[in-house]
């Protein structure tokens, strides 16, 4: 098992190197940081611009491969270079990764648990009222773009706040700036900020997961081993959770792990609309500001996240499924 893991990790590292290098080259040749300076009024003298670009390793007159070598040497030492504004990419992204993680982890957790529950119940009551309602709701959520969904949530929250006459839901940012109070007050404030973005993120996940889990559950509901469990004397509900759901969770869990990787940079809309300054927002911004180093660094993080998710999914499968463990 250890040898297998080591080989797999090595494989992943190679993949990350290739993906990140390609991303850097693409960004460095497609984006033009020089234009940032040309648009200024008055435009700075070319010699000053060149010097500044050289300092940031962003000069398009330096051969691409040479820039790549300098960049990768930095990356090897754990330094992703500087942004177009001259700040450290590392510090900026570390902060933003924290923001994205806080948003995604809660969203993913809520989304997967609720998705599994909704899907499993819909399967158990196939063609019943609950099944029909959740099927309809899922398709509506899937059909509505995140932008619209998030704005509906905001409108709803504002209406609710007005109705009760108090700021229950907070619709912008992660914290209230300048809030006084101890740790409990801070936490409560964060929670109130978290509710809406989490909801907007997890509603989409619930819609997808519940469809997926419903089908998996339907496959095992009629399985012989569920009948055996009931023939042993287990109540229907116990047999369904302990035997059917447990078995149907195996493929679902691996799927959850994979979505985590994709979400890390895929929550752009949610971040933008709710004013969370995370990685997704940064990726879009950096493309607009011709920020080559940030684009490359985020691509590297994304590649890392996807492969970490793949590894997690393998491990999860091994933990959940004895047939894989043995083989």
């Amino acid at each position: 098992m250890a040898g297998f893991l080591a080989r797999r990790l090595l494989n992943y590292v190679a993949l990350i190197v290739v993906a990140t290098s390609l991303a850097y080259m693409l960004a460095a040749s497609a984006l033009n940081p020089r234009s940032n300076y040309e648009q200024r009024t008055p435009p700075p003298p070319p010699a000053v611009v060149d010097a500044r670009l050289d300092e940031l390793n962003l000069n398009d007159e330096t051969p691409l491969f040479q820039r790549y070598l300098r960049w990768s040497w930095g990356v090897l030492r754990g330094d992703f270079g500087r942004t177009v504004a001259g700040d450290e990419v590392n510090a900026d992204l570390a902060r933003r990764a924290g923001v994205s993680l806080r948003l995604i982890l809660v969203g993913l957790f809520v989304g997967s648990i609720a998705g599994v529950l909704v899907g499993a119940l819909a399967a158990v009551w196939q063609y019943g009222v609950f099944d029909r309602l959740t099927t309809g709701a899922s398709f509506i959520v899937l059909a509505v773009p995140t932008v619209v969904l998030a704005n509906i949530l905001i409108i709803g929250a504002v209406w609710f706040n007005d109705l009760v006459g108090a700021q229950i839901f907070l619709v912008s940012g992660e914290t209230t700036p300048g809030l006084e109070g101890g740790l409990p007050a801070q936490l409560f404030d964060r929670l109130r900020h978290l509710v809406l973005p989490t909801l907007s993120l997890s509603l989409g996940l619930i819609a997808v997961y519940s469809r997926y889990q419903r089908n998996l559950m339907l496959d095992v509901l009629g399985a012989d081993f569920v009948r055996t469990a009931r023939a042993k004397g287990l109540r229907r509900r116990t047999a369904l959770t302990r035997h059917a759901l447990r078995t149907a969770l195996i493929p679902a869990a691996t799927y959850f792990a994979f979505t985590f990787g994709a979400l890390l940079t895929g929550t752009t809309f949610t971040e933008k609309i709710f004013g969370w300054h995370g990685l997704g927002e940064r990726l879009i911004d950096s493309i607009f500001t011709n920020d080559v180093n940030t684009v490359a660094a985020i691509s590297c993080l994304a590649a890392f996240a996807v492969l970490l998710a793949a590894l997690a999914s393998d491990l999860m499968q091994a933990v959940l499924d004895p047939r894989v463990r043995m083989g």
Binding site: F225, T228, A229, A231, G233, D321, M326, G327
Partner: protein
């Protein structure tokens, strides 16, 4: 035996769906079982036997509507809450299902699953339950039960899983065990082991058993009373001797007459029941058997006959003419007539003078055993076929028999591939297949055709019967197909005007006839048949076997007949080759091999097959093999059968050395009879 019944079922009916589309799967089943009694429920597929069992257990899906009464130990179970039923299930009433491969939850250890059955009903600590689970595994004959209890289901063979399911069923000393086709998915030697375990379990618990099966042989040897079902209703009930020897319902008579018998050598035609069992969604008026019954009279079509007592106590039959049959006016042997032979049996030259149609010599097929999901590496070799030699002569049927994993299907596929084997030679119609040009290969394909096991999946559902039959003809450049296709359809007993229909419009037996017609299209000389009747019900199977025999005689065909059903092979084959772990254990004329088998494996195999004759069955001695088939990736040294061989255990230390060191070759036992055993001796096992 004659106490109060533990389980009384009366007028049980099950309906799926509503209104006009409603399917009446079970229509008034009544029976009772007393403590320690075994009740057999027999019937063909769709007769409602499994649905009845699930209805008794309360495990039918919610869309089933159940009426009637099921009383267990005086308590009504129908309509009881899930909580109440759960209290009975597994404690007083337990069940063994058909498919052991899917009956255990794949993600829990076998020991834990048995312990769970204990802990639902009793106050036991986890440790106590685990200990009891190990005892139960030991009771059902699982070797080294402490370790095996820690294993997951996929590490168990089919036979072992069924033992584990039985352990679960007897865990709480139930009063009634319902076994739904408990051995249908198992090989015959494993079936004998499992039936033995069931008998032991019954002895241990004193439970009543309801045994549901389609196998008339198992019923004959295992049960006290039998209930025959047809179209959702019992049509005959009585003690096993009454029902088998004095059947009073034409369906029972037909069923018993249509089974090929392991103990009967003469090559008479089987007696099929005409037509097909009715669909439960569209039952005929009156007696549901009337469209197929040879004794049908006008009364049969007016009303469904009730189940009434015939002369002997406790023997009931649902037939308006049961009285006449019982009174001797209609001698049972004259009700069904064996079909007449179309032509007298052809006279063949002696075997040695006939041409060898298929010669296989030292055929080998090994598969690499790979491991790892990303980085594959070879960790061994599966010796699926490991040096098989036999020949098939003109006008002959060679039955290739053996249990699953013995390599019979691989042998057949290697022959059909028509490419150079890994080792050994295959010669079809005198030509060695390893040196064929593609045009010659095409010519051989015309002379050698195949019929597959599953009549559902071997016919393209999007092609009409005409297209299915025309395809081989077109491929080989035949023109003017119409008349040939008409001819083929009438040859296999189908209506020529049905050529425009699709496979889905035909029943299983008819589809298999289409498969046979397709094989015959190019007038081949050799037909390879892979389990051609094992997917069919007995009453249908008889008709297909008769057809195959008749075609062989009329068209001068030779058959290589691969099957696991030894009774069918005895009936249809001239010679038989018994395979074990990729090698031939015994080969010879059917009469010789069945009447005086020489190889200990053949003896065990034949003794394990139940015969549908209660008196004979009771008198027989079974040779029970220990354990499962060893893995073909690591066959035992020397004789492959020695690890399970009863003879190996009986002989002396010095003689055993030879079995361990030297692999026996097939040696002649007189005539063309041969067995691969150093110490072979004849034994009568029928």
């Amino acid at each position: 035996m004659r106490d109060e019944p533990v389980l009384t079922v009366s007028d049980l009916s099950v309906t799926f769906g509503m209104g006009r589309g409603a399917v009446h799967a079970v229509r008034g089943v009544s029976f009772d079982v007393r403590p320690g009694e075994v009740l057999g429920v027999v019937g063909e597929s769709g007769s409602g036997k499994s649905v009845s069992a699930l209805a008794v257990m309360g495990l039918l899906p919610p869309n089933a509507r159940v009426s009637g009464s099921v009383r267990l130990l005086g308590t009504e179970l129908l309509g009881a809450s899930d909580k109440r039923l759960a209290d009975f299930r597994g404690r007083a009433l337990s069940m063994v299902f058909q498919d052991p491969l899917s009956a255990l939850t794949p993600v829990y250890r076998v020991g834990d699953q048995i312990a769970e059955a204990l802990m639902v009903h009793r106050r036991l600590t986890r440790a106590q339950a685990a200990r009891r689970a190990v005892e139960l595994l030991d009771l059902v004959g699982i070797p080294s039960p402490e370790q095996r209890a820690m294993a997951f289901p996929h590490e168990f063979s089919g036979g072992m899983r069924q033992r584990a399911v039985i352990a679960m069923a007897i865990a709480n000393d139930p009063d009634v065990i319902i076994c739904d086709e408990p051995t249908t998915a198992l090989d015959v030697t494993i079936q004998a082991q499992v039936l033995d375990v069931l008998r032991k379990a019954q002895h241990e618990t004193g439970a009543a058993i309801v045994l549901i099966t389609h196998d008339l042989g198992i019923v004959a040897g295992f049960v006290d009373r039998v209930l025959v079902m047809y179209a959702g209703r019992p049509v005959e009930v009585g003690t096993v001797d009454e029902v088998y020897y004095r059947s009073r319902m034409p369906y029972t008579l037909g069923l018993l007459g249509s089974v090929p018998r392991l103990d009967r050598g003469e090559h008479g035609r089987l007696v099929p029941i005409v037509g097909n069992p009715p669909s439960p969604a569209a039952l005929p008026e009156g007696c549901p058997f009337s469209p197929r019954c040879p004794l049908v009279v006008a009364d049969c079509r007016s009303a469904e006959p009730p189940l009434l007592p015939v002369r002997h106590g406790g023997h009931l039959a649902a037939c308006v003419r049961a009285g006449e049959i019982d009174g001797g006016d209609l001698p049972p042997e004259r009700i069904y007539r064996a079909p007449e032979r179309a032509a007298p049996r052809p006279v063949h030259a002696p075997r040695e003078e006939r041409e060898v149609v298929l010669g296989v010599d030292g055929l080998v097929k090994h598969y690499p055993l790979m491991r790892g999901a990303v980085f594959k590496r070879r960790i061994g070799t599966v010796r699926a076929v490991d040096g098989v030699t036999f020949d098939l002569r003109e006008g002959e049927t060679l039955g290739l028999v053996g249990e699953s994993g013995c390599g019979k299907t691989t042998t057949l596929m290697e022959i059909l591939r028509l490419v150079r084997p890994q080792a050994g030679t295959v010669a079809v119609l005198g030509r060695d297949i390893s040196a064929l040009a593609s045009s010659q290969r095409m010519a051989i394909r015309r002379d050698m055709q195949v019929v597959f096991q599953d009549p559902m999946s071997s016919l393209d559902p999007r092609m009409t019967v005409y297209d299915i039959l025309a395809e081989p003809l077109r491929t080989h450049g035949r023109r003017d197909l119409g008349p040939r296709i008409q001819e083929l359809l009438s040859l296999v007993g189908l209506e020529p005007r049905h050529a425009a229909r699709y496979p889905q419009d035909f029943s299983g037996g008819q589809r298999q006839r289409i498969g046979i017609a397709r094989a015959l299209a190019l007038s081949p000389r050799l037909i390879v048949l892979d389990e051609p009747v094992s997917a069919l019900d007995v009453s249908i199977q008889a008709g297909v076997i008769n057809l195959l025999e008749e075609l062989k005689e009329r068209l001068g065909l030779s058959y290589l007949f691969v099957a696991h059903d030894l009774a069918v092979v005895r009936h249809i084959a001239d010679r038989v080759a018994v395979m074990y772990l990729g090698r031939i254990a015994e080969v010879g004329a059917v009469g010789r091999v069945y009447d005086s088998p020489m190889h200990p494996y053949t003896q065990a195999l034949l003794s394990a097959v139940p015969i549908p004759d209660p008196e004979k069955e009771r008198a027989r001695r079974r040779i029970l093999l220990e354990g499962d088939l060893p893995s073909p990736a690591s066959p035992p040294s020397g004789c492959r059968f020695r690890t399970r061989c009863p003879l190996f255990k009986a002989i002396g230390e010095a003689e055993r050395l030879r079995c361990v060191d030297e692999e026996p070759r097939v040696r002649p036992m007189g005539g063309d009879h041969g067995a691969a055993c150093h110490y072979a001796e004849s034994l009568d096992v029928l």
